[in-house]
């Protein structure tokens, strides 16, 4: 009897411990014992000052001694005796602060999130990643690096450093996310670094609205499409100053005589290109600055996340030293400066992703039609591991265009009939972006910069540059497909060789400007040139920020670093300033009640600043949103398919400047609405939206900061590790393009004098640990438009005041 009791108790207790020791079933989402234990669990992630590290560490693989100074924001300044040690230490130090993020992002990039999260939506995300060929693209990139020992060495050293950290990790020091989701880090590989860079390329070039544009063109015709969607070339300042001649001999491929894309693609869930949010960079030459030295500014805008996308770092050997932001998971600095040069990037926003309708010749889909022949289909089997065991198998069919992303086995509707769409993406081609970063880090002058860029293919970026010697330059750099006019704006015919990509525009034909007479250059995702450039430059462009920046830089003289910081935080809404007076003038006053009249007067008196405490920007935003919906949504409904429509700027431009715009009429009513009627109705509903906002948000006042609700979300989307309701201004189409979860992911201003005078800030912190004081310490200063001085330390000089902690790393064999 006693024996039975003991056995029963023993089994029960071990069962209890087993249950609390791991996530045994999705319905029990926490390994409570393991997670809560104060001596190993999450409590150990609560850091006192985040500087309690050993002063000396043995690091297997180091050839010499490495000194790492951490400054007051925990930015590591690495001083190594040679490059191998430098990149090894970068890997080690970065992994120490950002390991979970590095691995999670590469798991997401390679479609492996289902291994750690059990959720059908996550499985669908993983499938889309696999089907867009992300892993294959990273493998192709790695093969290219493996041909070049010079750069392979850099990747190897970094990977070694990351793995040295992973091997040294005990459970109690695991990042909290591992403990929460109950899994362990796996070894880092060079492939993961390539995956991360490919994911970045995809984030910037992977969106597409080709399906919706195809619908639009089919319903309204090619002429109408061109009229509404073509980039406005006459009123915006392009990246290359207007009137610049292009001494190039272009070879543009011939267009097919007929091109009538059609089809129904509404059910395909594919992300759109980022709307009006975007990045800025500019450079002014010494002739326009107070100091006489050139100044460079860059604020790349991206989805804001925690842990932050960027990791600040200084990398030094006796030969060279560079400071800037790096991508956790990749060696080198991506945006930054050294003693002699500074550089930054914005997205080129050109269309480098197209879709092809594929005709398979047989039901087994082993061949497809192309150029009057049958061509073989390649198959790649993707095995997606599932949390809790088992796996999901997916077969991806490859044509010479690329993977057949959407087909009968992967779409949300089966009733549509046969539909097979393959993706052609510039990012899938062999590339060597890591070479560019490595060489830019060491660049001394303009020709080094130009040489570095020759291997950066995708994502296409506007690389801006200044040198201590006084040069200012910008290059729209990347490999852009050489298209006939209109190619790839709609779904292409995969069987017609004339629809194939006919190679890339030679990189030496990419637009480039050096020391223009105006004394400044800039980019803000606007169109790259005026119509003199002989190649097709279709893409998604900015029409507002470019005008504000151009006007500011043109009028400014004796420019200081502070002036450039102010411009990065400029909240002036060019779009509202241009269109609002016309919109208000068309309001039908007879239909407005007193409250609405009062609001219309306030909007008329508004200074067009999107400041956080104002209400006018919120009302304008509601009005514009309602107006866009009123103009376009009925057209989609009546057409029965999701139509793409021109962005708000193009729409307002067409309706108010060019007019009359026939789409203003609501097709669902008997009468024909005029623009004035639609403006009045949408204004009235915008005033209602302001009231509703307060009602729905517990009386929260509809100020711009509350309506915009700027937030920085943790990668897991857990609110507990995120920050929202951040008090800051800005909007899409405003230089400070801060919109909801989008905004300046890094603001940097560098003046290259005797010593670099550099300033920067990002909405996050150096540590990825939510239990560290350095997790989000940058958010508040970022929101207020403040900057930190970036300490560019000299090799071998004694430590400065800003240093809080110094760590020595040494190899095992002295």
């Amino acid at each position: 009897m006693r024996f039975v009791r003991f056995i029963a108790l023993f089994l029960f207790t071990t069962g209890l411990v087993w249950l609390l020791d791991g996530i045994r079933h999705p319905s029990v989402p926490l390994a409570a014992g393991r997670f809560l234990d104060p001596f190993h669990g999450f409590w150990q992630n609560m850091e006192k000052d985040s500087l309690s590290m050993p002063g000396k560490l043995k690091l297997d693989g180091l050839k010499g001694k490495v000194t790492v100074h951490y400054d007051e924001r925990r930015v590591p300044h690495i001083f190594a005796e040679n490059e191998h040690d430098l990149y090894l230490a970068q890997g080690f130090v970065t992994a120490h602060d950002r390991l979970w993020q590095m691995e999670f992002q590469t798991h997401a990039a390679s479609g492996r999130l289902s291994e750690i999260i059990s959720d059908p939506r996550v499985l669908n995300m993983d499938r889309l990643r696999r089907r867009t060929g992300m892993v294959k693209a990273a493998e192709t990139a790695l093969e290219a690096v493996q041909q070049q020992p010079e750069y392979l060495k850099v990747l190897d050293a970094y990977t070694h450093g990351v793995n040295a950290y992973i091997q040294s990790l005990k459970f109690k020091h695991l990042p909290i996310e591992y403990k929460l989701l109950d899994y362990r880090p796996e070894p880092w590989t060079n492939l993961k670094t390539c995956l991360l860079l490919k994911m970045m390329a995809w984030d910037l070039t992977g969106g597409s609205d080709d399906f919706e544009q195809t619908h639009f063109r089919e319903v309204y015709g090619a002429e109408e499409y061109n009229r509404l969607f073509a980039p406005i070339m006459d009123s915006v300042p392009p990246i290359v100053p207007r009137g610049t001649a292009f001494a190039i001999n272009p070879v543009v491929p011939p267009a097919p005589s007929r091109y009538d894309p059609s089809g129904v693609y509404s059910h395909l869930k594919y992300p759109k290109p980022a709307p009006e949010t975007g990045s800025n960079n500019w450079a002014v030459s010494g002739s326009k600055t107070a100091s006489g030295f050139p100044i460079l500014a860059n604020d790349p805008h991206l989805t804001l996340r925690l842990p932050s996308l960027w990791y600040e770092i200084q990398l030094s050997t006796p030969e060279h030293s560079v400071y800037g932001v790096s991508l956790p998971g990749s060696p080198c600095v991506v945006i930054g400066f050294n003693r002699n040069v500074a550089w930054g990037v914005t997205n080129a926003s050109r269309d480098v992703l197209d879709w092809y309708n594929i005709q398979f010749t047989d039901s087994k889909r082993t061949e497809y039609r192309h150029g009057g022949q049958n061509k073989p289909v390649q198959r790649r089997i993707e095995t997606i591991g599932l949390r809790g065991g088992g796996s999901f198998m997916d077969t991806v069919l490859y044509t010479h265009h690329g993977p057949v992303v959407f087909e009968e086995k992967f779409s949300d509707l089966d009733s549509i009939g046969p539909l097979n769409v393959a993706m052609r993406w510039a990012g899938a081609d062999s590339s060597m972006e890591i070479r560019t970063l490595y060489l830019l880090n060491k660049a001394q002058n303009h020709s080094d910069y130009r040489n570095a860029l020759t291997s950066f293919f995708c994502p296409g970026q506007n690389f801006i540059f200044i040198s201590k010697g006084g040069d200012v330059a910008i290059t729209q750099n990347g490999r852009f497909p050489n298209k006939w006019k209109g190619q790839g704006e709609f779904v292409l015919d995969g069987s017609d060789p004339m629809h194939d990509w006919q190679g890339y525009i030679p990189m030496e034909h990419n637009p480039h400007v050096l020391n223009p007479s105006q004394g400044f250059i800039f980019s803000s995702n606007q169109v790259v040139t005026d119509s003199a450039y002989p190649y097709d430059v279709s893409g998604n462009y900015d029409y507002t920020r470019c005008r504000r920046i151009h006007q500011a830089l043109q009028s400014m003289q004796k420019i200081t670093v502070e002036d450039m910081q102010r411009l990065q935080n400029d909240n002036f809404n060019v779009k509202a300033a241009e269109f609002l007076p016309m919109m208000l003038a068309q309001l039908d006053a007879k239909q407005l009640n007193n409250k609405e009249k009062e609001w219309s007067l306030r909007l008329g008196a508004w200074n067009h600043l999107c400041d956080p405490e104002l209400e006018e920007p919120a009302l304008y935003d509601f009005w514009e949103k309602n107006l866009m919906a009123a103009i376009w949504e009925d057209d989609s409904k009546v057409a029965g398919k999701v139509l793409d429509y021109p962005n708000a700027y193009l729409t307002l431009h067409a309706a108010l400047r060019k007019g009359p715009l026939v789409y203003v009429d609501d097709l669902q009513t008997e009468i024909t609405e005029t623009l004035g009627q639609v403006l009045t109705a949408t204004f009235k509903s915008a005033v209602r939206d302001m009231d509703d906002f307060s009602k729905n948000q517990d009386g929260l006042w509809p100020t711009w900061q509350n309506v915009n609700n700027v937030r920085v979300m943790h990668l897991s989307r857990q609110m507990a590790f995120s920050y929202d309701k951040i008090k800051t201004g800005g909007n899409a189409a405003v230089v400070n393009a801060t919109r909801q979860n989008n905004g300046a992911s890094w603001r940097m201003v560098v003046e290259l004098g005797e010593k670099p005078n550099a300033w920067g800030v990002y909405p996050g912190g150096q540590s990825g640990n939510p239990g560290s004081v350095y997790y989000a310490n940058g958010i508040q200063p970022w929101a207020e438009g403040k900057y930190f001085r970036l300490h560019f330390l000299e090799f071998g000089k004694p430590a400065i005041d800003a240093i809080r902690f110094t760590q020595i790393l040494e190899g095992n064999n002295p």
Partner: protein, 119 residues
């Protein structure tokens, strides 16, 4: 008196074992304490419960007091009822105490197995 000793033994053993072993070593500590100092099943169970509860609850509170971080509050947002940091420390103690209680009962049952052979 012996009972208080038993509670202290659970705490000391659990704390020491946790320096080298994972969290579940608290179960072994509670069981061992009952084996060594037990006698009454209720007292042993209570000693296991209290010993691990106190160790974990005050361990968590100490870390909370020393740290400059609000992580415990954030973790509270993930738990049912969204407790504050003190609540999370209390839940921590309870989870530990639960394991301690059953482990001690188990140790007591084992002790009685050996006792049964005696006259």
């Amino acid at each position: 008196m012996k009972w208080i000793l038993q509670v202290l033994l659970v705490m000391v053993l659990a704390f020491t074992m946790e320096l080298f072993l994972p969290w579940w070593s608290v179960a072994v500590a509670a069981a061992l304490s009952a084996l060594m100092l037990g006698g009454n099943v209720y007292r042993s169970t209570l000693a296991g419960l209290l010993g691990v509860f106190l160790l974990w609850y005050f361990g968590a509170l100490a870390i909370q007091a020393e740290s400059g971080s609000d992580l415990a509050e954030r973790v509270g947002l993930l738990l049912p009822g969204k407790p504050g940091s003190g609540g999370v420390a209390f839940i921590t103690g309870c989870v530990g105490g639960l394991v301690g209680a059953f482990s001690a009962a188990c140790g007591e049952a084992l002790r009685r197995l050996f006792q049964s052979d005696r006259p």
